[in-house]
Amino acid sequence: MSPTDQDIDRECLRSAPSIRLRGWMSAGLWQQRAISFLYAMILPATAAIAWQVVGDLHLLPPIIFPSLSKIASTTLDTLTGYSGTSEWYSGKWYVHAVASLGRVLVGFVIGGSLGTMCGILVGMFERVHKILDPSIQMLRPIPVVAWIPLAVAWFGIGNPPAVFLIALGTFFPTYLNTLHGVRYVDPILVRASQMLGYTSGWEKFRTVVLWSALPNIFTGLRVGLGIAWICVATAEMLAVKSGFGYLLWDSYNFLRVDLIITGMISIAAVGFLSDRLMLLVQRTVLKWES
């Protein structure tokens, strides 16, 4: 029995919605991204509206619960100095951004390079592992914040204790990830490099170990960079008179909650951008992975 025209029509109608759906699905990646962005914005948008309403109606004391527009204008003033509402921080955003960034950069470079070097040495040489790793593991459970009093006692007030803390915070994740990467190199790749003529320890490192460990080293550096921003905020509250951490704490002392929130947003923004930059470097270096 062959299908009648009616059968065919009915079949077409039945399959029509799925065809439409498939067309919609393939409409483009950017559409899907836009939709997930909308989903992601539901909660923040609701919170922002609620915040603004609470602030406008003075349901809570504005001194501890400033309205959203107040925070926005304060943030804008720290950036441009157009109204002077943020007092001595008016137009000084960049000064503090540079101060924090500088500390993070110096501490991160010191801690990251030390962590990478120690991870490689400990991973490559069994004897270095026996000597160094237990000590590092003993120091690791001490929270970085717990080092602050000692750091200030040793290095005084100023940049040195801040850089020390950031370097310390960066060191451990970089060390651990590098060590893992170096120790778990695929042995078949080591054999491949040996049969190609690279038989010495240095050649093994240069041709295989470094490259295999590179993704892990980058993971460690990214985690370390995140911790560096935690450390800089903490250190600046106690040891120095500049940077976003200092801005936060100083604003608390003068009960400027709008400025506190400005400081929080600023740290998040700069931290996020530095992580994106790191990711960009990672993708450029590890181009065989993408």
């Binding site: 078949i188 190609l196 038989t199």
Partner: protein
Amino acid sequence: MQQVKLSCSRVRKMFVSASSETLALDETSLDVHDGEFLCLLGPSGCGKTTILNLFAGFERPTSGTLWLNNKSIQGPGMDRGVIFQEHALFPWLTVGDNVASGKRVQAQPAERRGTVVGRYLAMVGLTGFENHYPRQLSGGMRQRVAIARGLANEPEVLLMDEPFAALDAISRGLLQVELVRIWELTRKTIVFVTHNIEEAVLLADRVAIMTSRPGRVRDILEINLARPRDVNGVEFNAIEKHLRELVVDQSVFGKQADGSHRMTAPVSR
């Protein structure tokens, strides 16, 4: 009488762990002639990969000696190229850089390196893939690159450890044919480990049949068939049948000390 390229005599290899000792190879002797294609054939666990790793210098024998050109083998070296079961390409290098990664190739000036890469990629049929990463290739293509990399470093011997076992039947068939062609072109000495009887008959000048537990070379079968060989030919099938009997005989019936045969059937409960 052909010249001996690679040999081992009375080699034993014991693997020792905390809980057990395993004798992987027992008193094994083998001569590989210069320019020949030798297959090591045996069931899994018979120590054929162990022999290859000893020849490659990746492992040291418990006793006995291995020679290359009458010089004893002390460790890995670029006079012996190895093709592994998994391609073992460097994932961070492009196909071209992988082929050029051997120490001998690296020692040459850059423009010369380019020529070498081009020649060996053409030999394995992958011209134009220089700038791909291994990740972007199929399993068969990766294994071709591995062969090109091994050959480009100009080893005297090629040691191949079940290089086509992980491939699909079609890719395997193609690569077998191409390997014979490449071998006829370069006349490298090849030691090729396989558990595939048809593969051994198709490729080898001589097949060394191994027994398991402990591993040992039991028989050597010469295959006097003109190339290219036809897997459906009468002679081919006769040799394959004969070889199958030899292999099955030694893997199903373990030989007792008194020379009688013992059935090692699976234990049923």
